[in-house]
């Protein structure tokens, strides 16, 4: 093969450009995992066998975080709620699921993914994964309300304040901020309570100890123990988001 000086320079240039694109690839498609870092990675195991009829966890969560109660399903705000098995795990349903599983409620909340799609798409970093413990957080003061994160989240975990939420809050908890209309919100794994050394409100409220919370990076933690001893599943693990919420079925 004959190659001219000009052709050689062109090829070298193209090659160098390719190398130059490598960091771009890392930014756009890199694995932002910090599972091996020294930090914590908070996680939850939902023991669906123990989950009963009550709504104690939901009430505790929504009261703690001033989540408005909006009756209109289309505009509702929810951080923690119940779904049936077939809706929680749509790709794992089949025609002959046992009756108990069919009836059993599954608690839905933000998965605090290790590789969160919402964080990847947010144009202002108003939603971000906290380096120290992997919690996917929201900055309500930075969110522009474009709802790109809601399109990005494959778990339907995010709610948008279509209305001014304040009139819909029965009793305002003065220790946690309320939101304004036009921003997105979701479960924050009770980051404000963790900071004070308490467990998340839902975990504390559950009368059956169906919610187990702890640090995935600590092999001796409660969650790791439960995960070692039980068969657990995640929602849509095939999407590569690496959720931090596990379910015992």
């Amino acid at each position: 093969m004959k190659i001219s000086r000009r052709g050689f320079i062109k090829l070298t240039g193209a090659g160098a450009l390719g190398l130059g694109l490598l960091p771009v690839k890392n930014v756009l498609a890199g694995d932002h995992s910090n599972v091996t870092s020294d930090g914590k990675r908070w996680a939850m195991v939902v023991d669906s066998r123990k989950c009963g009829e009550c709504n104690d966890c939901i009430v505790a969560c929504h009261k703690t975080h001033n989540v408005p109660e909006i009756d209109n399903k289309e505009e509702e705000i929810k951080w923690l709620w119940k779904e049936k098995y077939e809706h929680a795990f749509p790709s794992q349903k089949h025609d002959f699921v046992d009756e108990d599983l069919k009836k059993r409620p599954f608690m839905m909340l933000c998965n605090h993914c290790d590789n969160p799609a919402c964080v990847r798409v947010c144009p202002t970093q108003a939603t971000f994964k906290r380096k120290s413990d992997g919690i996917v957080m929201m900055d309500y003061h930075r969110c522009i309300g474009c709802r790109y994160c809601m399109a990005g989240c494959p778990y339907g975990a995010r709610s948008f304040n279509f209305n001014d939420p304040r009139p819909f809050i029965e009793e305002i908890n003065k220790t946690y901020p309320t939101r304004t209309k036009g921003v997105v919100e979701k479960c924050n794994f009770c980051a404000e309570r963790l900071a004070k050394g308490s467990l998340p409100a839902c975990v504390e409220a559950c009368p059956n100890n169906a919610l187990i919370f702890g640090d995935l990076n600590d092999p001796d933690s409660e969650v790791r123990k439960v995960l070692r001893e039980h068969y657990t599943i995640q929602r849509k693990p095939d999407l590569g988001t690496r959720p931090s919420v596990y379910y015992i079925v």
Partner: protein, 385 residues
Amino acid sequence: MLEKAFSGSKRYWSWVIFLLVLIGIGFGSYLYQLNKGLAVTGMSRDVSWGLYIGQFTFFVGVAASAVMVVLPYYLHNVKEFGRITVFGEFLAIAAVTMCLLFIIVDLGKPMRLFNVLIYATPHSIMFWDMIVLNGYLLLNILIGWNVLEAERNAVAPPKWVKKLVYVSIPWAVSIHTVTAFLISGLPGRHYWLTSIMAARFLASAFAAGPALLIILSLIVKKFTKFNPGETAIKKLALIVTYATIISIFFVILEFFTAFYSNIPSHMHSLEYLFAGLEGHSNMVPFMWMFAVLAVIAMVLLINPGTRNKENTLLIACIAVFVSMMLEKGLGLIIGGFIPNAFEKVTEYAPTLPELLITLGVWAIGAFILTILYKVAVSVKEEVRA
């Protein structure tokens, strides 16, 4: 040159005032939305984007009107397009402005818009979309205005303008690609998660943009003393023909993959759009209207007899424009959200304020277009006089 926009016939002024009234209605509706929140729209927790974002993606496509005349003219020396390049560019200016407005009216917190710049985030496709759209707007303003001014002064356009023209051609490809990337890289949105999305955006853009340009050229021809030229329109019609065929072909490809593989999550959105799902069928009439109009357009365009006749070409172009708007400006975005993450169906229908705001943005687009076309036509009439 702008002074040309300040003198015109009675018909011109009535049209301008009509548009201003529509803009006023749209603006009033927007103030209402700003006050009450996006609750006044038909959007919901499940269908969190609707008509606004749909129209945004569609009008990114319309902006392709520019490149489809600029590319043949500057790269292939298709002289006939020389008369109408500025019309393509001015249409792109109006279309991109509409895109930006549709994004702004969709924001929950529009006053924080500049957070996108202050906290620039390169891993968000929206950041890149902002760059390419604003860049394309600027390029077309600079190129269109300077080329027209040079034409008026009977001199060659400055050299840097030609350099910008060459930049604008790949840049046009980027606006469709990046806008497609906005939705085609999201896990769990099966209807959007298709690598052909950017190609679909390009094809439908190259159909809808030039189709509108033909419609506008025919209007200019009818109402002014300037004739954009029959050969230019014929050549554009050929571009629209190929682009429409490719565009429809791409839609058929989506059907094949979904239904031959028989994977439920890949079929659901298409089923919802074209047949209804779990008893929900709001979108079905619109999607069939798209299909019927697309067939009508193709029949009229492929047949040289009807393609080369002005009346039938006009019908074909309207059919292309409306069908692409239904498919891309409505079905594509809504289909991505139905069924939702729990495989439940929540339907969407725009509300009156939402429609009025959309109408207002349309009127702003038409207003910008009217002013720019008035200037361009006046200059061209003056030069030819």
